[in-house]
């Protein structure tokens, strides 16, 4: 045994039965908070926020589009970090979390592309253009789909998860491209509006900004609740032969011997 660099609670949480119970306790609270903040954010964005001076009410799609776009990047980063842990330390929980991130991330990426397209037709005059921001976001969707496909292409689930983790990790080079595409190239997509490093430079009025930030909080909370739930079912099916799962399913310790039939 080598010396451990991790605190004790991380070892405790990394064990599937412990994580299963912990996630089950935390998930309803996160989901309730997510729904509450989404309700506040949507009310603020769709009812309280004033119309825009150029776009009128059509700009309100940013309350869905922008938080989804942030999530598409955030979930990818989460997936890649979990993938690195899965590749190097072979932690079962990290493999499950990395793989369960992909469908949620793909969904947020799809929402980003779809809402952007719906807004782009009336505002820009086109559903789609091959500019750097739109193309790199589409590549992000294909990376998510590639991770899902590669993971399921293997007979052995754990080997599939590790192969897909490597793809997820390598694909992380796309994240700075998505983020900086509007600065590096001449794109049709507008530049950054919300500047987190220097809020005074954000070019959005305060009554429009706060619902946007609340929606961003709601999507993060939703993702945490969703990944906990997905990881629980992932662990259950990965460990379906194990004692703790049998105990959980039967409600009592499994018999040491199969009953004769």
């Amino acid at each position: 045994m080598s010396r451990s660099y991790l605190p004790h609670w991380m070892h405790w949480l990394g064990s599937p039965p412990n994580f299963y119970r912990f996630a089950g306790t935390l998930r309803p609270w996160l989901m309730a908070l997510a729904l509450a903040s989404a309700a506040i954010g949507l009310y603020g964005g769709l009812v309280l926020a004033p119309p825009d001076y150029q776009q009128g009410d059509a700009y309100r799609i940013i309350f869905i589009h922008v938080p989804s776009a942030w999530m598409s990047l955030f979930i990818y980063a989460t997936m890649a970090v979990a993938g690195l842990i899965a590749l190097v330390w072979r932690v079962k929980l990290a493999e499950v979390i990395a793989m369960e991130c992909a469908p949620t991330g793909a969904a947020f990426t799809f929402i980003t592309l779809a809402t952007g397209s719906l807004w782009g037709k009336p505002m820009w005059g086109t559903w789609w253009t091959w500019d750097a921001r739109l193309t790199s976001e589409l590549v992000l969707l294909f990376l998510y789909l590639g991770v899902i496909g590669l993971c399921n292409a293997f007979e052995d689930r754990r080997r599939g998860a590790r192969a897909a983790s490597l793809l997820a990790l390598v694909g992380i080079v796309n994240l700075p491209i998505v983020h900086y595409s509007v600065q590096w190239w001449n794109t049709l997509h507008q530049g950054t509006t919300v500047d987190f490093l220097d809020p005074a430079r954000s070019s959005i009025a305060a009554p429009m900004l706060w619902p946007l930030l609340v929606m961003a909080l709601a999507t993060h909370l939703y993702f945490f609740a969703s990944i906990l739930g997905r990881a629980r079912t992932g662990l259950l099916s990965l460990e379906s032969g194990k004692q703790w799962v049998r105990t959980l399913v039967d409600g009592q310790p499994a018999p040491t011997m199969e009953a004769p039939t």
Binding site: Y53, Q54, I62, W89
Partner: protein
Amino acid sequence: MNPVRKRRLIITLLILGAVAVATGLSVFALQRNMTYLYSPSEVDAGKAPDGHPFRLGGIVKEGSIRRVPGTLTTDFVITDRFQSIPVTYTGILPDLFRVGQSTITTGTMDNGTFVAKTVLAKHDATYMPPQVAQAIAKAKQEHRIPPDAGHGGSQ
């Protein structure tokens, strides 16, 4: 960290580094080649392809929008404040199309007029209520600042 994990970590990071370098070089190469649009000055200098469709980008010049009655044809002038090019377009214009707005048109040059097949309007990434926009416009008028200064200049 045990030697097996250390080796795995090093191999993984080497792969990641190699991919990052490869992507960085491609991005750098693209940056020099990927011209999404030409400005009126570049067209004037003869840099735009002759007889082939290309993208012309700039700002819609003040007072230049003229709609031909009874048709969907609109004539306007695209400028980058140094050179201007007259554009004609038949079709539905995007909502954001207006004077002072960054605009990207695709089409060909025909006797000094750019015949546009598509007109795309770029958003200036500014969001504010109409009352604020009016107040800013009023303040600029009082202080004699040109109406387009301050936003929409990202092209």
